[in-house]
């Protein structure tokens, strides 16, 4: 390929990455620094840090960010505890011929839109929903139990939204684990718990780390769970941001600033976890010297 054609061949995707991926984030940063958007026609935009200042001034905004961070951490923890044994079971105890199908069964519900999954939870948990029907039928409760609009429900919805981000990296990590090390540990007399803590968990630590960061990022950005299953007491940062972009509110700089705050936090998480393996986590490739 001639040099000119080669340059063109590389330049087009570089331009796509710059405009389509970096561009929107930079546009968001720029508007977050504006006093008003859209500004008066013809006038040069006035820049300020007002939007970021009002984040510190209003307790409600900080509370919704903290709730988001907490709920995302909780959904990451719940997903990890649920997904680890499932990933382990499919990767280690299902015969290879059936493994793909078994994993597919676990994944299939997550092929659907998150809106549908949240709707499904509404049907399950509402006052006239399936669970209340079962409770009434069993004679456990005469009046409907209010299951929707609480923090627990939003948490369940978030786990149901982001679960796959945890399951798949964990599955890949357990699947990569060399089979003979567990047999060796067993032969040397390590019990099941000891094998788990000293062999399995360290060997899959990278999968846990990447699953956790992916799940946490996804959970931070989840809007539907709080919008459909939550109430006023469970407003998360995603709903706060969405409301600022609502019709005619004209508060785009504030919404953009909040978006940028969330982006900064999530980028810090990615960078932190990317740096983590070098510091704490042993290399997950099989080593010869031990």
């Amino acid at each position: 390929m001639t040099g000119c054609l080669r340059t063109l061949f590389v330049a087009v995707p570089v331009l796509w990455v710059a405009l389509a991926n970096a561009g929107p984030l930079l546009a968001m940063l720029r508007i977050s620094l504006m006093q008003v958007y859209p500004g008066p026609p013809g006038a040069a935009p006035a820049f300020s840090l007002d939007a970021y200042a009002s984040f510190w001034q209003e307790a409600g905004y900080r509370a919704s960010l903290l709730r988001s961070l907490g709920l995302a951490a909780a959904s990451t923890a719940v997903s990890l505890i649920l997904a680890y044994p499932l990933a382990y079971y499919v990767a280690r105890h299902v015969p290879p011929a059936r493994r793909g199908r078994r994993l597919m069964l676990l994944i299939a519900p997550f092929w659907t839109s998150e809106v549908l999954r949240m709707f499904a939870l509404v049907l399950l948990l509402s006052n006239r929903g399936a669970l209340n029907f079962v409770l009434r039928w069993l004679g456990l409760s005469e009046t409907p139990v209010h299951l929707l609009y609480g923090t627990g429900t939003v948490l369940a919805g978030m786990v149901y939204t982001v679960f796959l981000s945890m399951l798949l990296p964990l599955y890949a990590a357990v699947d990569r684990m060399p089979a003979h090390v567990l047999d060796a540990a067993a032969t040397l007399g390590a019990g099941a718990w000891r094998r788990f803590w000293r062999v399995t968990l360290p060997l899959t630590a990278r999968g846990v780390a990447s699953g956790a960061v992916l799940t946490y990022l996804s959970a931070l950005g989840v809007f539907t769970a709080a919008a459909l299953l939550g109430g006023v007491s469970t407003l998360v940062f995603a709903t706060t941001i969405a409301d600022l972009f609502g019709a005619a509110s004209g508060r785009w700089p504030l919404g953009a600033a909040f978006g940028f705050i969330l982006l900064t936090i999530s980028t810090a998480c990615v960078a932190g976890v990317a740096a983590l393996p070098a510091l704490f986590v042993p290399d997950d490739r099989p080593r010869r010297d031990t």
Binding site: G23, P24, A27, S113, A120
Partner: protein, 264 residues
């Protein structure tokens, strides 16, 4: 090794619990009454007939299908181009920056990505609507194609392209007759994944859409304005399509660390 029956029990419980709520949508869509309430009463296909004749559903359906197809094509072209061009970048750190930038939409939380795209279309003067959603979905799905096509490209036997060139093929002929056929499974896999993620996407469609909603946005709007049984029928149709596409995608492509909605 001994069979861990409690792990198997946990697995089947997880499969049941994660599928059960969705099964509930399908079940309640068969109720004939005008309120969704348990017990369901007589069953039938009444609400499906209503849904199929509902102009709102029909237009949302058409829009969602078109967006899925168009954004998948765009994402596969952009993603493959990025993956192949990255191979030509010789400096290691430049290649890492390029690929890192290409994967940026994967690590941007959904709401942030949607808002950033909403701002961008305003900046370039594009009105919310199908074109804006199309771009948003394609940008979101491009990293899937970068990863899948890049992984497939890495397994291309080095000698094949060289052999074609030695035998007189120009670079374009070598690309069409050697590289492209080798990439085909990754192209279809990534395309299916992109189509599914577009069909399922809510947050980008919600922020970038004009007056005509996509299916998830339509369902979201009607859920907010109160449950009608027609929504259950519509949702069941959407559910079945998503599962068919999902099953097709998984068949095209061995299950790997990166899959469908994992990175939603």
């Amino acid at each position: 090794m001994r069979a861990h029956s409690w792990l198997a029990g946990l697995y089947w419980a997880a499969v049941t619990i994660s599928a059960l709520p969705l099964g509930l949508i399908a079940l309640t869509s068969l109720a004939q009454g005008s309120i969704v309430s348990f017990p369901l009463g007589p069953l039938g296909l009444h609400w499906y007939a209503t849904a199929i004749h509902d102009p709102g559903f029909r237009s949302a359906f058409g829009l969602s299908v078109m967006l899925a197809a168009a954004s998948a094509v765009l994402a596969v072209v952009a993603g493959s181009w990025i993956a192949l061009a990255a191979g030509l970048v010789t400096r290691r750190w430049l290649r890492l920056v390029f690929l890192g930038g290409a994967l940026l939409p994967l690590v941007t939380p959904g709401i942030v990505h949607a808002v950033a795209l909403r701002i961008s279309i305003a900046v370039i003067g594009l009105a919310p609507g199908p074109i804006a959603i199309l771009l948003g979905h394609a940008i979101h799905a491009t990293p899937y194609a970068v990863i899948m096509v890049g992984a497939r490209r890495a397994t291309l036997p080095v000698g094949q392209v060289e052999a074609a060139r030695t035998l007189g093929a120009d670079p374009i002929a070598a690309f069409i007759h050697v590289v492209l056929p080798w990439l085909r499974p990754a192209l279809f896999g990534a395309g299916g994944l992109a189509a599914l993620s577009s069909f399922d996407d809510f947050i980008r469609s919600f922020f970038l859409g004009g007056y005509n909603p996509t299916l998830p946005v339509l369902i979201f709007g009607r859920l907010r304005s109160g449950l009608t049984p027609e929504i259950n029928a519509i949702s069941t149709i959407v559910l079945l399509i998503a599962c068919l596409v999902g099953a097709a995608v998984e068949r095209l492509r061995p299950i790997s660390g990166i899959s469908a909605s994992a990175l939603g």
